[in-house]
C-alpha cells in the first residue's frame, strides 16, 4: 500500500547475505542435490535433450517423411524473419495474451474472493467455474461453434435482445481473436481460481483480524492491506502460468478456426504446428520453435525477476 510505505518513509529493504561454514553448507547442498536428482534427470531427458534436438533440427531442412536432411545453417531463421505469417502470428499471440492473461487473472481473483466470503453454495460455485478447465476441447469445439454462431447462436441472440447486432465471432477476421479470447478466458479462469483459492487459505486469519482492529473497514481496504500482498507469491505464480498458457494457445485455434480467416487467428504454436506437421517442414518449424522459446524465456525471466523481489517476505 503506497500510503503506508510512504507514511513510513520506506528505504531500500535490507537483504541478508551470510557467508556460511563450508562443511555444513556442503552437507546441505549434497542433500539438496540428492532430493532434486530425479527431477533433474528427467528434466534433462524429457526437456533438455528434446530441446537440443529441436535446436539442431532448426539448422536443417528436414522434412517429415524423408529420411535424410541437410544442414542449411541459418537459412531457416532468415526465412522466418522474412515471413509475413510469422510476424502476423507473433502479433496475434501478443494480442491474445494481452487480453486473456490479465482478464483471467483478475476475474479469477475477484471470483475467488467472492466465493470465499460467501457462505452458501461454495462447492457449487467452485465447481461451476472450474468445469471449463475440465472440458474436452474435442467436444467443446462444437459447442462453441454453436454458441458463437453468427445467426443461430445463443450469444448473438442474447446480444440481439439488448439491441446489439452480434458479430461473427469465429468467422470474421476482425473478431476472431476476440472470440478465441473469450473462450481462452472461459477456460483459464477456473484454473487460476483454484490457484487463488489455495493461496487464500495460506493467509493467516489473524492478519485479517489485525486489519479489522486497525480499522480496515471496507473489504477493499482489507484486500489491499492483507490479501493482495499476502497473495503475492500466488499472483506471481498465476501470472507466470497464465502468460505461458496464453502464449501456448493452440487447441482452440486448431479446432475452431485453423488460423483463419486469412491468418486472422494465426498464433505462434499453430503456425509451428502447421509448418511442421501439415506442411511437414520440420526444420523450419524447429527454427520457429527456437525463436518462440527465446522470446518466452527472456520475457518470463524479466517478469519473474522483477516480481520475485517484491513478493517474498522473510
Amino acid at each position: 500500500m503506497a500510503e503506508i510505505a510512504e507514511a513510513a518513509a520506506l528505504r531500500a529493504p535490507i537483504v541478508s547475505s551470510s557467508a556460511h561454514a563450508a562443511a555444513a553448507g556442503r552437507h546441505e547442498s549434497r542433500t539438496a542435490w540428492l532430493l532434486s536428482l530425479p527431477a533433474i534427470t528427467l528434466l534433462f531427458v524429457f526437456i533438455l535433450l528434446p530441446v537440443a534436438a529441436v535446436i539442431t533440427l532448426g539448422f536443417t531442412d528436414y522434412e517429415l517423411g524423408y529420411s535424410g536432411f541437410r544442414f542449411v545453417g541459418f537459412d531457416n531463421y532468415a526465412d522466418l524473419f522474412a515471413s509475413r505469417t510469422f510476424r502476423r502470428s507473433l502479433w496475434n499471440t501478443a494480442v491474445y495474451t494481452g487480453i486473456v492473461a490479465p482478464v483471467s487473472i483478475f476475474m479469477a481473483l475477484g471470483l475467488a474472493m467472492l466465493i470465499e466470503s460467501e457462505g452458501i453454495g461454495r462447492s457449487f460455485f467452485r465447481t461451476a467455474y472450474f468445469l471449463p478447465v475440465a472440458s474436452l476441447l474435442v467436444a467443446m469445439a462444437t459447442v462453441w461453434q454453436y454458441l458463437f454462431h453468427p445467426t443461430i447462436g445463443p450469444v448473438n441472440a442474447m446480444l440481439a435482445l439488448a439491441g446489439i447486432k452480434g458479430p461473427n465471432w469465429l468467422g470474421a477476421s476482425a473478431y476472431v481473436l476476440y472470440g478465441l479470447s473469450i473462450i481462452g478466458i472461459w477456460q483459464s479462469v477456473g484454473f487460476n481460481l483454484v490457484l487463488f483459492l489455495a493461496g487464500l487459505t495460506a493467509i493467516p486469519r489473524e492478519l485479517y483480524q489485525a486489519a479489522h482492529v486497525d480499522g480496515a473497514r471496507s473489504a477493499f481496504d482489507r484486500f489491499r492491506l492483507v490479501t493482495w500482498p499476502m497473495l503475492g507469491p500466488t499472483t506471481l505464480f498465476v501470472t507466470t502460468i497464465s502468460i505461458i498458457n496464453a502464449v501456448k494457445v493452440f487447441e482452440t485455434v486448431k479446432t475452431l478456426t485453423e488460423g483463419g480467416p486469412n491468418k486472422a487467428s494465426e498464433v505462434l504454436l499453430f503456425t509451428i504446428y502447421q509448418e511442421g506437421f501439415v506442411y511437414l517442414k520440420v526444420g523450419y518449424a524447429s527454427a520457429m520453435t527456437v525463436v518462440f522459446l527465446i522470446i518466452l524465456v527472456v520475457l518470463m525471466f524479466l517478469q519473474y525477476r522483477i516480481q520475485d523481489r517484491q513478493v517474498h517476505y522473510t
Binding site: Q145, H149, T151, I152, Q274
Partner: protein, 398 residues
Amino acid sequence: ETTLTVHYPMPGFFKDVMDTISKKFMEENPDIKIQFANPSATYEEGIQLIMRQAGTAEMPDLTFIGLNRLRMVNERDIPVDLGPFVAKEGNMAEKGFSDNILRLAQVKGKQVGLAFATSNPIMYYNADLVKAAGGNPDSPPKTWDEVVALGAKIKALGNGVEGIDFRWQGDDWMFSALLFGAGGKMLADDEKSVAFNGPEGQKAIEVLDRLVKEGGLPVFTAQAGEQAFFAGKVGIEFKTTGALRNTIKNVGDKFDLRTAQIPLIDPVNGKLPTGGNAVVILTRNAEKQEAAWKFAKFAAGPYGASVVVPGTGYVPNNELAAKSPEYLGDFYKKNPLFVAGLSQMNRMVPWYAFPGTNGVKVTQAIVENLSRVVEQTATPKEALEDAASEVESLLPRS
C-alpha cells in the same frame, strides 16, 4: 494366418463402414485377420501419423489417404506401387475398376492406391425456404446466375436467414469445383507456372464474389455454415456429397432437404474435382502385401462401395457397384437425394495435387485469398492475382 493392421482417418464417417467391410472380408478370407489401428481424426492427422510411423514397427499395413495428398506421400516414397498387382490381376475393369477410376489414385502414372470413397461437390437446398422465397423447389437453379438470384430472394426473407453457404474454407477443393467447372486448370501442363489466374479462374472467383455480394453468402466458418443449414437458416449450400448422410441425419424433418447438381460455369467442358480417399498399401512384407492387396480390392470393390455409399453419401468408386442391383442399383431408386452425386460422376477428374514440397502451403495460400473475397476486403481480381503470385513463388524452382 496373416494379420493386417489397417489405419483410417475420420472414424465419424468410416468406423461403421470399416467394421462392416472388415467383418465381411474376414468371413470370406478366414486366413486373414484385420485389426484396426487407432483412427485419425482428420486426413491431415492421418498423414502425419503415417509420416511419423513410416519405416517403424508401428507403421500400419494399409491406410487410407486423401486423394490430393497421394502425390505428397508418393514423393516420400511411402506407398507401395500397385502397378504390378493391377497387371497381375489383369481384368480390373470387369471388377468395376475402370481406367477412369484407377486414374484417380495414380500419381504420374504410378498406381499408388485404389480410390476407396470418392465424392464430388453438389448443391443442397432447403426446399421450404426456396418455396417461401418464391422459387420452385422442383426445378433447382442450373446456373450460377440463377443461384445468385435465388439466394438473394431467400436472404430477403429476413429473420436471420442467409441465402447461400459455400464451403470455401479448409482447402482448395471447392475453388477447384468453380475453376474446373469453368474448364480451368490450376497449373500449366508443365507444372511450372500458374494457370488458375486465367479467364476461367477469373470467372470462378467472380462467381464467389457475386455469391457474397448479391447472393447472400455470409462469412461462416465451415462448421457454422453447416450448423446454420441444419437449423434451416440457409437456403442453398454447396459442399461434398460425402456429407449427405450426415446432413440427412442432422436435418431430420425440420425442413424439406433436396439435392441437385452443382452448376458449372462452362456446362460443356466443365469438370469437377474428386474428393475422398484411396486405400494405400504400406507394408513392404511381400506376404502381407498379397493379403493387403486382397483387402484393398475388396474394400474398394463393389461390396465396399455398397457399404460406403449409403453410409456416407460418397459416390460409388466402382462402376459395378453403381449399376448392379445386387449392390446399389435399388438404393438409388429409393434414395433420390443420393442421385445428384452419382449423376455427376462422368465429370469427375482428379483433385489437383500441387508438385513440390510446398503442396499443402499452396492450397492454404489460395484459401486465404478466397477469404479476402468472402470478407470483401479485396476485389476478386486482386485476390486472384495475389493468390497467383504467392502460389507461383511456392512452386518448385527447377
